[in-house]
């Protein structure tokens, strides 16, 4: 995968994960153009399109568009499954996720993505294991903060 974008129906970016080295300016341009192209598509259209020299796979969940750019040899149908798996993970983590969750907890959305995909490829195919890892990492964060506060109070 080259990059993944999440954006609302008004075209506001909610998450952008880039796996290829591009400057900020280039990223902005690509995001803007691609978002416009996808928003212009009608609801019943194909989830795949060829855009510039990339293969784009996108799917809309409620008010959010999930869009991935994959390489030529990648299987588009399994990319749809990857998108779906990520949505399931978010759903399990936030408990019936909605767009506001992702807006107000964007850094957690990134952490979850980083436990599921690494370098653009899926790293863990078991939903349970991904969620367990996030849980443990969260705990680690809390413990340290807790300890820090404890030390401060003493």
């Amino acid at each position: 995968m080259q990059f993944m974008l999440l954006f609302s129906r008004q075209g506001k970016l909610r998450l952008q994960k880039w796996y290829v080295p591009l400057s900020d300016k280039e990223r902005k341009k690509i995001s803007r153009d691609l978002v416009q192209t996808i928003l212009a598509r009608k609801p019943k259209m194909c989830s795949f399109l060829e855009w510039r020299d990339l293969k784009i796979v996108y799917k809309r969940y409620a008010s959010l568009y999930f869009c991935c750019a994959v390489e030529d040899q990648d299987n588009e149908l399994i990319t749809l499954e990857i998108i779906h798996r990520y949505v399931e993970l978010l759903d399990k983590y936030f408990g019936s996720v909605c767009e506001l969750d992702i807006i107000f907890n964007f850094e957690k959305a990134y952490f979850i993505l980083d436990e599921f995909l690494l370098g653009g490829e899926a790293q863990e195919t078991s939903k349970k294991n991904v969620l367990k890892a996030i849980e443990q990492a969260d705990l680690l964060q809390e413990v340290r903060i807790f300890l820090y506060h404890q030390i401060h109070l003493l």
């Binding site: 970016l13 909610r14 998450l15 952008q16 994960k17 880039w18 796996y19 080295p21 591009l22 400057s23 902005k28 009608k42 019943k44 259209m45 194909c46 989830s47 795949f48 399109l49 060829e50 040899q73 299987n75 588009e76 149908l77 399994i78 749809l80 499954e81 990857i82 798996r85 807006i103 107000f104 907890n105 964007f106 850094e107 957690k108 990134y110 952490f111 980083d114 436990e115 690494l118 370098g119 490829e121 899926a122 790293q123 863990e124 195919t125 078991s126 939903k127 349970k128 294991n129 890892a133 443990q136 990492a137 969260d138 680690l140 964060q141 809390e142 340290r144 903060i145 820090y148």
Partner: protein, 799 residues
Amino acid sequence: MSPSVPLQEMIRAIRSARTQCEERGVIQRECAAIRAQFRQSDNGGRSHNLAKLLYVHMLGYPAHFGQMECVRMIASPRYSEKRVGYLGAMMLLDEKQDASLLITNSIKNDLSHSNQYVQSLALCTLACMGSAEMCRDLAPEIDRLLRASNSYIKKKAALCAVHIVRKVHDLGEMFAPAARSLLSEKNHGVLHGAVVLITELCERNLETLEKFRKAVPDLVQIMKGLVISGYSPEHDVAGISDPFLQVRILRLLRILGHNNEAASDAMNDLLAQVATNTDSTKTVGNAVLYETVLTVLDIKSESGLRVLAVNILGRFLLNNDRNIRYIAMISLQKIVGTDHNAVQRHRGTIVDCLKDQDASVKRRALDLSLALVSASNIRSMMKELLIFLSSCPLELRSQAASGIFIAAERYAPSQRWHIDTILHVLTTAGGDVRDETVPNLIQLITNASELHCYTVHKLYRALLTDISQQSLVQVACWCIGEYGDLLLRGECQETEPVQVSEDDVLDALETVLQSHMSSPATRGFALTATMKLSTRITDNVDRIRSIVSIYGSCIDVELQQRAVEYNALFKKYDHMRAAVLERMPVIEKTAPGQTNGESTGEPIKDIQSVKVKQGELLLPQPPANQVCDLLDLLGGSEETLQPSPAAGGTAPGLPANTASTAGGDLLDLLGGLEPAPLTPAPTVQVYEKDGVTLTMSCEKQSATGLTVTLTASNSTESDISSLTLQAAVPKSVQLHMKAPSGDSLPARGAAKVTQMVVLNNPNKVNLKMRVRISYSSQGSAFQDTIQIDAFPGLSAAGH
């Protein structure tokens, strides 16, 4: 994990801003606060600050001042700060930033951290934005982790290695042994990572590929385990056990089995099993089937398996899900060359997809349909394609039109069908066809001599309905001009008889001439057609004469020139009119798909057939009152070649026989492709009038260069003085005139004047030259223009 309150407050504040301006204000304030916080020493809120900055960055505002903070945070001992720091590094630092190098050391330390979650952060960041240097530095660490760590780290290390190999290709060899041993792990995450790594290594290095072929049995074993195993809740997706891993294994098998019989044999059974047993009701099953089909078609599989694969694609075509149909057509397009018959079986479904709502599906269906057209199905396919053309989206029109033309040309069952098809396309999508269509169609029509009557009737009717499609109008005008007598005769076996009077026809042509929709080229066609009719109709010749003379003062130079010439035909050369405007001979195509003559389109086809009689004076030079610049008349594609290549004398390059130019291409008239067979000597007389003779000889200097020597001589009783020769050539040819040897010709050929002209024809266009000779003799000035179309001494192939 408890939410970051400061972050959420800021987000709320930003979102409550009602205008862009307000939002910018809020952001500026927040950024100022963040910057102040960065400058302060360690406090508990550092991670919150950076998180705020990252949010602002995601909205599109500049955040580069946070880069150093990321570096600092990554080095912090606190996990919460590391986590946000690494996230910031992935968002703000890419390999092009200098600051990215500063984190290499932190990453290195964290890779050996005691806590696996810290290690995981480092691995994730390296795999996301690691530059080539960083990768080279840290590769040994990654290799170590690949061998000796827990599964959680191993799976991440494998994908990190993939990134390293993509950045630094040579390091692939380092990871090959570790990758091989990973295949024996049980953990799916590790297996998945291993398969991805092996795929990457094999794609880049042929030797590694050879080595890993030995792993095919192991891979087959793993795959079988996944397919046959019972329900495994951890990895199950809609009844398929770990589809992600299955798809990656299939992809690796494809690479290993490509072009290798042994490997392909080893996986045959497995592929058959997967193809038949996988449940295809949900997308996930279809994803696995799709990958299987791709693999089957790319390895040396047995024919039964191939048929199975194509049938799966056929089933995909019937699927309700548009995505699946699209995928099927892409795959079928890849194999339509090799497995043509198998794909033909699904032609019906593919043609149905032409009616799909989605533009991408339509495009795929069009490509496939055009590829599937053959001699046996041409009639039915063309019907469908023409229906498609009338309703297809604009961006596909020209592609569809040219595809239809090519198919029609290759498989037309009859000439009439061919002409009908082309006419249909011109009526529906005339604006989107290529320029060569018009001459091609005209050539087709002249060839189908029995159909002239039918064609001209049909075209006349089309012209009456609609004159906006330029290509159609041009062809119609040409035909009416050529075959107007057939039109007026009224009877025709193939269409219903209709009484067309001469006035009707002239009305139609005049409408075209006067319409603002007609392009200049079209009007040229119409004018010439009107002129041609003067020999084919009986009553309204005067009307034609008046039409033609009106255009003698038209603003358009092209039309004006034509009108004036035709006027001249009426006035001075009426005796020649019938001969000049006779029916054209059958145009022979030089080669399929080529346009006759130069790349200039219609004007060439519009040349009236000239019967050349040796020694006969052809049409005169253009009258002096015309805007007459030598260069202007020779300019590019706008030129109507005057059918008077040379006045008097032998006309070089023209066929010797004076009978109708049977078998003679129009090409011959255009430009002496063959060196003049009449005059074997390289010197040729190009002009002879009133005792003044001009001869020409050519010498080829190089592939594109030519030297022409003009020699003037005077056979009259009086001297000639102030002799000047001027020359003009087509636009792309370069001309250089040397100084003439003199400017006077004494009487009775006592001396000659020579003038050398150096030509360079880099674009190898049809070489023509116009020479103006002027001199004074016995006190009066004379001037004349000579057109030279053939240059003896040039090879026939190129100029």
